[in-house]
Every structure is written in C-alpha cells, then in structure tokens.
C-alpha cells in the first residue's frame, strides 16, 4: 500500500502497464521530457525512452490519428490530450475513425487505445481549460467513457481501459489530481467498466454523480446526515456504458433522486440518466429526478467555483425532491 493522490496513481499505473506489456506506448504534447503538464507521465521518458514515450507536435488530430494507426497495427497506445478542451481538433479521428473502425471493417480491425484527458473546471483555467465534453463521447456508439473520482479507482479503471479491445476515453477530473491521497494497493487490480459504486449507504434518497463533482456530492451527504437525512451516494465511474441496473435498483427503493454533473445543463449526459430513470421506474418515484449541473454558458473565468454544482445547490435540489 502507498498513500497516493490521483495524478501520482495515474503515473504509477502507466508505469506498471508499460512494464507489463511492451505494446503500451504513450504519446501526447509534453508527455516525454516534461513528464506531462500535470506530471501524469513523470519519469516515464527516462525509464522507457523516446520510442515508447513520444512527445508529439501540437496537433490533436495527429495524436489521436496516429494512435488509431498504432492500435490497428498491434500496439496499445495511451494518448494524452493535454486538456479535454483541446480534443475538438482531434474529434473527427476519435468519432469518425476510432469509434467506427471495428464496425466499418466488419470486425477485421479494432482500435484498442486509450485517450486520457484532464477534464473539468475549478482550476481557474477559463473556458478553454475547464470544459466537460463527456456528453459528446457518451453520444458516440463505439467508444467507452470512463470518469473516475478517486486514486484507487483511477488505477483499476485505467488498467481495464488499457487492456480493453476498443477505444476508451479516460477523463480525469483535474481539480482532484492533488486534492487528496488514499491508500492504493501496489498489486495489480482492475475495475470493470460500466460498474458504479455506492460511496455512502442511505435510505431517504439517492444522489448520483461522477468525476470532479463527487467531492461536493459527498460533502452534501455529510451535511444532510447532520440534519438527520440519510442519502445514498452513487459514483457512476463509467458513463458509457453506465450502470443502469445499480441506479434503477437504488432509485426504485428510495423514490427520490438528485443527479449532479458539472457539464452545461442542456443535453448533458446526466439528462440521459434522468430520462432513463423516468422511463423505467416512473411509478416508484415520489418526485421527479432533479438535476444539478453547470450552467448553459461558456465556462467562466471569474466565477470559476460558482459555475460548479456546489454543496448549497445540491442541498437545495435535495430539499426540492424531499418536499415535492
């Protein structure tokens, strides 16, 4: 066991996977000599050399496109997009090529690759360094989308993603990179994609979130406990596929649910969870699923924290579903 934060865990996990499988290569802007702008690839260049830790030009289309080519030819590339906001120039490669390759080739080819990207707000990055594009990827058949919230999960999920036979978008909540440490086992372990985890047991309502907003969601659950309200907290961890069964079972028992996501509200991924809950178990609901989300504006610089679903906004939504 070692006590590690999330970004240290990711660096160690990449190291372990590169040792385990020589087909694993890393590529991205400043991932080599610099060790990544967030140091998620620290020391890997010195250990594995420039053939396996590749500093790329500033072209996301090239990074993702080259990763598709490497994957088709037998490597296991882990591409880093420096900020999720930069993925847009590489979007076509991810959505039109990587996601469709297995299908378009009649399953002759697949693209076993991972695209890691530091995601989300709360670091005073302004619009171009704070966005949450997960909804776009969830709406793309052929991709898998993972968004962990803890160091422990980062390790298990990243290993599963690297070993998966198809492209995985691995989103990392950058404001949690160094937010806290926890015990991360030294040994090899994986966490299946598509499996949510219950972070708090509770009986009065369910709160569902993922990634960076898990911290605020757990704080809200603590605050509710002091008021005598028992909230179950589910961390989705995987967004495509997401754990529909776990969510429906929990919500059906409690009848009340609050959904938290920091992406802009309209057509947010969390709307999919809300819609599915209503479709499947409307008759068990005591109140409509309430969403707490980012706002329908570009991500602000000045109101960096206010944009994010904070404890107060979550508690207000909880009050609404309780009073409904």
């Amino acid at each position: 066991m070692a006590s590690l934060n999330m970004v240290q865990t990711i660096a160690r996990t990449l190291d372990e996977e590169m040792t385990r499988d020589e087909r694993v290569v890393i590529m991205g802007e400043d991932v080599g000599k610099r060790g990544g702008v967030f140091l998620a690839t620290e020391n890997l260049f010195d250990k594995y050399g420039p053939d396996r830790v590749i500093d790329s030009p500033l072209s996301e289309a090239a990074i993702i496109g080259a990763a598709v080519g490497m994957a088709v030819h037998g490597l296991r590339p882990v591409a880093e997009i420096q900020f999720a906001d930069y993925v847009y120039p590489g979007f076509d490669q991810l959505v039109s090529q990587a996601a469709k390759l297995r299908y378009r080739s009649g399953a002759q080819f697949s693209a076993p690759m991972v695209v890691r990207m530091p995601t989300g707000g709360g670091v005073k990055g302004g619009h171009h360094h704070s966005q949450n594009p997960e909804t776009h990827f969830v709406h793309t058949p052929g991709l898998k989308v993972v968004y962990p919230s803890t160091p422990y999960d980062s390790k298990g999920l990243l290993k599963t993603a690297i070993r998966d036979e198809d492209p995985v978008v691995f989103m990392e909540p950058k404001r949690l990179y160094r937010a806290f440490k926890e015990e991360v086992p030294e040994e090899d372990y994986t966490i299946p994609l598509g499996e949510a985890v219950i972070r708090r047991e509770g009986s009065d309502l369910v709160m569902i979130s993922y990634g960076g907003t898990m911290t605020e969601t757990l704080k809200a659950a603590d605050a509710l406990k002091e008021q005598g309200i028992s909230a179950e907290v589910i961390d989705l961890r995987s967004l495509l596929p997401w754990d529909e069964q776990r969510v429906l079972e929990s919500v059906a028992r409690k009848g009340r649910v609050v959904l938290i996501s920091e992406a802009p509200r309209t057509a947010n991924f969390i709307s999919e969870v809300a819609a599915t809950i209503s479709e499947e178990i409307l008759d068990t609901l005591e109140a409509p699923p309430m969403r707490v989300t980012g706002f329908d504006t570009p991500y602000p610089y000045a109101q960096d924290r206010e944009y994010l679903p904070g404890v107060n906004r979550i508690l207000k939504a909880v009050q609404q579903v309780i009073d409904y």
Binding site: K100, T135, A263, E279
Partner: protein, 334 residues
C-alpha cells in the same frame, strides 16, 4: 409566417433553401455563401445551383476541403462585419471544424466581455436514408444543442426552410441550421411573398388531446404519418415540431404534455445522451404530476450508420416504431 398574398408557388425544400439564400444575398451586400463545391458544382445537394452565375465568385465561394479553415474564415468574416453563410457538406464533416465552432464561434462574445458578436450562419446536411454509411449519415444535432453560445435550428417544413435563414442571419450570434438530407426533395407550396419566421418557438403542427408526439427535422413527416395512422383508431395525437433545438421551447412542450398527459419523443440521433433525453428530463421535471405514463423515446439504434439499405432502415426511427411507442404510452397508467 405571415402570408400576404394568395399566390402560391409549387416548390421543393431544396428550392426553398436556395430561394432563402438568394433573397438574403439580394437584401444585404454583406451576405455571402462559402463551402465545398457550393459554386461551380452547385452544392453537394444542389442547393446553390445557379447562384454562382447570379452573384459571382466573390459572393459564392468554393473553398478547399478544410472545414476548420472555412468555418474559421467564416468566423473572421463575421467579426469583420460580413454576414457569412457557411455550408458544411454534412454534419459528420463538421467534426473537423468542431474546435472552431465550440471554442471560437460559441465563445468570442463571452471571452471578449461582450465586445464582439459572431453573426455567422452555418448550414449543414444531416441524417440518414441515402445509404451513405457511417461517415455521412449521422444526426448530431443533439451534440450541438449541448453547446452554450450557439443557436441550433432544424427546419422540417418548406416554410421554415425558406423563412429561418433570414432570421438566422439577423441574429447577432452564431446559428447552426440542420437540413435533413431526405427533406431536400420534399414538395409543397409556398406563398410567393413569404416573410421570415421566428426561430425561438416550437410549433404544434397537428392538434390532439391524447398524446404529444415531439419531434424535429428528418423525423417530422414520419411523425405526422404516425399521427394520421393513430387517428384511424380514434387516437388524437398532437405533433410538436421543435424547430429550435437550442434554445428549447419549454413552454410549448410543457403546455402540450399538461393537456395530453403522455409524450413520445422522436429523434433520429442516437439514444444515449440524446436531445430526446433532455426533452424527456425537462418534461418529467416540469410536469411530473400531470404525466399518466413515462415519457417514451424513439431514437436511432446505437450503432454507426449501416450501409446496407435494410439495415439503415432498421437503424433509424420508422413509422411502425413511432406508432407502437405511442400505443404503448397510451396503454400505460401510473
């Protein structure tokens, strides 16, 4: 739309879009059209046929095959005082311009502290039905509806195809117009002196009291057919044409569902993370006690669009599926 004259002209959706472009070009010297093959070839879907001859190469501009370049140039032109209409051949190709759209067009007003608007119109074909397979056939309107800073329109009728463009050009901010590829051949009549239509409101295309069928763009006519089919059994379906996908017209949607107590959303986008999910979530939030059944969605199968005709047909919403979904919510009581 205000109809000022009784003179009706037979036309098509394609001609209605062309006439809208021609009209805008005549009205305002700052308007120009730019895109791949829009000039000499007349547009991939023949929308701009004849416009090069009429307006010349300065205003009908053939571009290189670089969506990032010509959408970016459109943003620059808009900032510089022009009123560009940029045509992206299909929505799938717009992915190559996504950074320009999401990180530039949609954000300049915000990032300049309100100093610079981007009065840019981007038109693109969308949707399946022509056996163009997994890289030319998707419906990504729902994606764009997730992006703050832009407006998203989906004209389904001839009247909207003709009337929305001018309203979009007059808008001070970026507007994306999605023209479903299967609609271009749609025939109908339009008044000779049509005016601009509003681009903020959904429209009830068919009134009914039993169930609200909510749709837009390529699935609009299929939904109207489904309503006609249901009427044979005495079921009165209301059909809402969303028209504007961002912003969504909550008022029209919720008023309808509060009357009918049941809703089906028909959306050619993939189901997960769809615009239909957003509409569904809003209905349940806003009309929870009025609902007699869960809101249903009819969306595309979650696969890259198949090439084979029978598979393509099976992958997207069709009449029997819409009718069946409506019957199912009508048979449910909560």
């Amino acid at each position: 739309m205000s109809v000022k004259s009784a003179t009706m002209l037979k036309t098509t959706y394609r001609e209605a879009v062309r006439e809208a472009i021609r009209d805008a070009m005549r009205r305002d010297d700052r308007v120009f059209l730019m895109g791949e093959d829009v000039g000499k070839y007349g547009g991939c879907y023949a929308v701009s046929l004849g416009l090069l001859e009429e307006f010349g190469p300065e205003r009908i501009r053939d571009t290189p095959l670089s969506e990032a370049a010509f959408v970016g140039a459109g943003i620059g032109a808009a900032l510089g005082g022009m009123r560009p209409i940029v045509e992206v051949m299909t929505v799938n190709f717009s992915l190559l311009a996504l950074d320009q759209i999401v990180n530039t067009a949609a954000t300049i007003l915000h990032m300049s502290g309100g100093q610079f608007n981007v009065p840019l119109v981007i038109r693109m074909a969308t949707g399946a039905g022509r056996q163009l397979a997994a890289q030319h056939s998707h419906s990504l309107e729902g994606w764009y509806a997730h992006i703050p800073g832009i407006k998203v329109l989906a004209p389904a009728t001839l009247e909207d195809a003709r009337g929305m463009l001018w309203a979009a050009i007059e808008d001070p901010d970026p507007v994306l117009i999605f023209e479903h590829a299967m609609l271009y051949g749609q025939e109908g009549e339009l008044a000779e002196d049509v005016a601009a239509v509003d681009i903020d409101k959904a429209v009830i295309r068919r009134a009914g009291s039993d169930v609200s069928l909510i749709t837009y763009g390529g699935t609009f006519y299929k939904t109207m057919q489904a309503a006609a089919e249901l009427a044979k059994d005495g079921i009165e379906a209301e059909v809402i044409d969303l028209r504007s996908l961002r912003p969504l017209d909550n008022g029209t949607i919720l008023d309808s569902v509060r009357r009918t107590h049941r809703a089906v959303i028909i959306d050619e986008g993939w189901r997960s993370g769809s615009l239909a999910a957003e509409v569904s979530a809003r209905i349940t939030e806003g009309a929870f006690y009025e609902l007699d059944a869960p809101v249903a969605r009819v969306c595309s199968a979650e696969v890259p669009m198949p090439y084979a005709k029978h598979l393509e047909e099976a992958a997207i919403p069709q009449l029997p599926g819409i009718v069946a979904a409506a019957r199912e919510v009508l048979g449910t009581h909560v």
